[in-house]
């Protein structure tokens, strides 16, 4: 399980909708910050879940500090565009950024949002930041959109480079694409649940990644794995006890244990489908009402091996 994420600059966390990408990205961020890496969790889909978990307000486009060495940013397309234009063309760029016609253009161009947001994630990981006065980050954890959209976004820089052929966008596209393809700088973490659809989507992500940026996932994280409380022999004993139980609460407890075990067995089969290259890292099911920094910290303990 040598994912060595701490050696990368840019780590994309993706997977099917609802599998806990934000949770994994945030917990990884906590683990990295503990190591003293200046870390930022960058969210591409306009939400600010990392900051929310810490109870901190995070206006779109603002880098906020969550804890020692841990920051979060909900990437804002407009702002990313203004920064890009300013760096590209200085005052002329600012003029463009202020033009309504240009905004119409940027919003209408298919893929421009993806290009700009992924460009912003890339920018966070540069030693020389575009944003004046901004400090560089050791590690940028991108809380990416769900698999299909994430693959689309990862492909965008190369697509623009190809369509534009020459000119600044082509150049920028090529530079970002080269970073994405370089396993020394960029890694992808696939998040799944131990269920049919998320596992299938993880397998599809593996193929899609190869095609999009020529990389394999550096790590596969399986979220919300139930504990294995009963072996086959014990499950049999419990099943026999269930048919004889008359105490209402004991009956319910025996049923709960069997039901949980049946679900854990089904999960096991799904995890097996993921294979072992890389070996999936299992996170326990968190039996809590909400994930707060304490729960995230426990998940971070488990994720440390990926750094």
């Amino acid at each position: 399980m040598a994912a060595a994420l701490a050696d990368k600059r840019l780590v994309f966390v993706t997977g099917k909708g609802g599998v806990g990408k934000s949770t994994v990205a945030t917990a990884l961020g906590i683990a990295a910050a503990r190591r003293g890496l200046r870390t930022i969790v960058a969210e591409l889909s306009g939400q600010a879940r990392a900051a929310q978990a810490f109870g901190i307000a995070a206006p779109s486009g603002e880098e906020v500090r969550l804890a020692e060495d841990l920051h979060a940013l909900s990437v804002d397309m407009e702002q990313a565009m203004e920064e890009y234009l300013h760096e590209r063309a200085g005052r002329v760029g600012d003029l463009l950024a202020a033009s309504r016609a240009f905004h119409t253009f940027a919003h209408a161009t298919p893929g421009m949002r993806e290009l700009l947001t992924i460009g912003k994630a890339w920018e966070l990981a540069q030693d020389r930041r575009r944003v004046s006065g901004a400090q560089p980050y050791d590690l940028v954890l991108v809380d990416a959109p769900a698999t299909g959209h994430a693959l689309g976004a990862l492909r965008t820089p190369a697509t623009f480079a190809e369509i534009a052929r020459v000119g600044p966008i082509a150049h920028q596209g090529r530079t970002i694409d080269a970073t994405l393809r370089d396993p020394a700088q960029t890694a992808v973490v696939a998040v799944a649940l131990p269920e049919e659809m998320p596992v299938t989507e993880t397998l599809a992500l593996r193929r899609g990644l190869r095609e999009a940026i020529g990389q394999e996932p550096a790590a596969v994280v399986v979220n919300a794995c139930l504990p294995e409380r009963l072996g086959p022999r014990q499950a049999k004993t419990v099943a026999e006890a269930l048919s004889a139980a008359s105490d209402r609460v004991v009956h319910a407890a025996l049923r709960a244990a069997l039901s949980q075990q049946a679900r854990a067995d089904a999960q096991r089969e799904q995890v097996a489908r993921l294979g072992d290259a890389p070996a999936p890292l299992e996170l326990p099911y968190v039996f809590a009402e909400a994930l707060r920094p304490a729960e995230l910290g426990e998940l971070a303990d488990r994720l440390e091996v990926l750094l």
């Binding site: 063309a89 033009s99 534009a164 049919e196 407890a253 709960a256 039901s259």
Partner: protein, 381 residues
């Protein structure tokens, strides 16, 4: 409490919405099968079914048109369809978008040039709302074809369920990017429309994007401009279909807080858009462990109680008690979230809960199990 058959009594089109990972696809398929079992001719349009489910239904062949599911598959699992028919299809968004472009193109030349345009070919997936819009466009096409008693649409998976409702507007705005077409054509009346400085903007634009990209984009938008009239009409019809009296939305959610909050947000949007919400289904409820209601102290003595009453070893009794404590905690969380949902939905929206099933639903037998829960409280057919 009533079952979904009552909610869908006079429904011709049922749109199933909710956030990703809550069981929308299986719920759509199970309710379509259940309505077919009531003698209706039903088609279900899904976006991305689990492979095993697709195989179980015989849906592996993708030709972007509904196919009839062999009734024997359901009869064998205990749900005879009788006179009813169940049809299903998996939507291919890219292909549906190509078909839409082809249908809206004023002539063959325009069609060929759009389909061959590099911006269209490489980036049409990235047109905001295109996948969502193609789903409703397909629904509309099937509704036009007629012959269906009920159409069920499983909406595309996305982080935000509202993407689906916003899609027609976003795509219309995209097609209507008239200011943009004028800008890219770079001349004449457009300059006055856009105000001063447009020539300058165009020059700067070339500087930050590169001339080739600009020329492909310019072509792309000019060609799309020719489709605008047809597209507007289509978007209008699609919106009318979504508001039609025979169209009902169903919300699907899991009992976790985030999907529930999203479902509530979706409901408010439906209401303000004048669309009908038929009911909400809460999947994956932890309900079994609720026997302890009101006597949480009993959790402490549970291992001993299990040991005595069931004759298990202390170690095993401890494991069983721990499993129960887990499930109990989740059952309480789910019940609280369910109460929140019920309160916020108000009394008029019927709610149905489906317990967590021990395995993913990935075959016909699983769909029939789900069907039993969805239709349990309905009036008999």
């Amino acid at each position: 409490m009533s079952g979904v058959a009552d909610w869908l009594a006079d429904t011709r089109v049922c749109v199933v919405g909710g956030s990703g990972g809550v069981g929308k696809t299986t719920t759509s398929a199970a309710l379509a099968a259940g309505m077919a079992a009531r003698g209706l001719k039903v088609a279900v349009v899904t976006i991305d079914p689990a492979q095993r489910l697709a195989t179980a239904l015989g849906l592996d062949e993708l030709d972007n048109e509904p196919q009839r599911i062999a009734s024997e598959r359901f009869a064998a699992a205990g749900l005879p369809l009788g006179e009813g028919e169940l049809w299903a299809m998996t939507l291919d968004p890219k292909r549906t978008f190509d078909e839409l472009i082809a249908r809206l193109s004023p002539d063959d030349d325009t069609r060929e040039r759009i389909l061959a345009n590099r911006v269209y070919r490489e980036l049409s997936d990235a047109i905001a709302g295109s996948q969502e819009f193609t789903a409703v466009a397909k629904l509309h096409e099937l509704a036009q074809d007629g012959g269906w008693d009920l159409l069920v649409l499983d909406t595309p998976p996305s982080r935000n369920a509202l993407d689906f409702l916003d899609a027609p507007d976003r795509l219309r705005a995209f097609f209507e990017g008239r200011a943009l077409q004028t800008l890219l054509r770079g001349g004449g009346a457009g300059l006055r429309l856009l105000g001063r400085g447009t020539g300058l903007v165009l020059g700067l634009l070339r500087r930050v994007t590169g001339a080739e990209l600009l020329s492909d984009l310019s072509d792309f938008f000019r060609l799309l401009g020719g489709l605008l009239g047809g597209f507007r009409e289509r978007a209008q019809q699609v919106e009318e279909l979504l508001r039609a009296p025979g169209t009902t939305f169903l919300l699907v959610t899991s009992p976790e807080r985030e999907p529930i909050d999203e479902a509530l947000f979706f409901q408010r949007r439906l209401r303000s858009a004048g669309m009908t919400l038929g009911g909400a289904v809460v999947n994956r409820m932890h309900v079994d462990a609720d026997a302890l209601a009101g006597e949480d102290d009993a959790l402490l003595d549970l291992p001993a109680r299990i040991e005595q009453a069931a004759g298990l070893s202390p170690a095993l009794a401890k494991q069983v008690a721990a499993a129960y404590a887990d499930e109990h905690r989740l059952a309480r969380r789910d019940a609280a979230n369910m109460a929140h949902l019920r309160e916020r939905l108000g009394g008029r929206v019927p709610l149905l809960q489906v317990p967590l099933l021990e395995d993913d639903v990935h075959d016909v037998a699983g769909l029939v199990r789900l069907y039993v829960h969805l239709f349990a409280a309905s009036e008999a057919p």
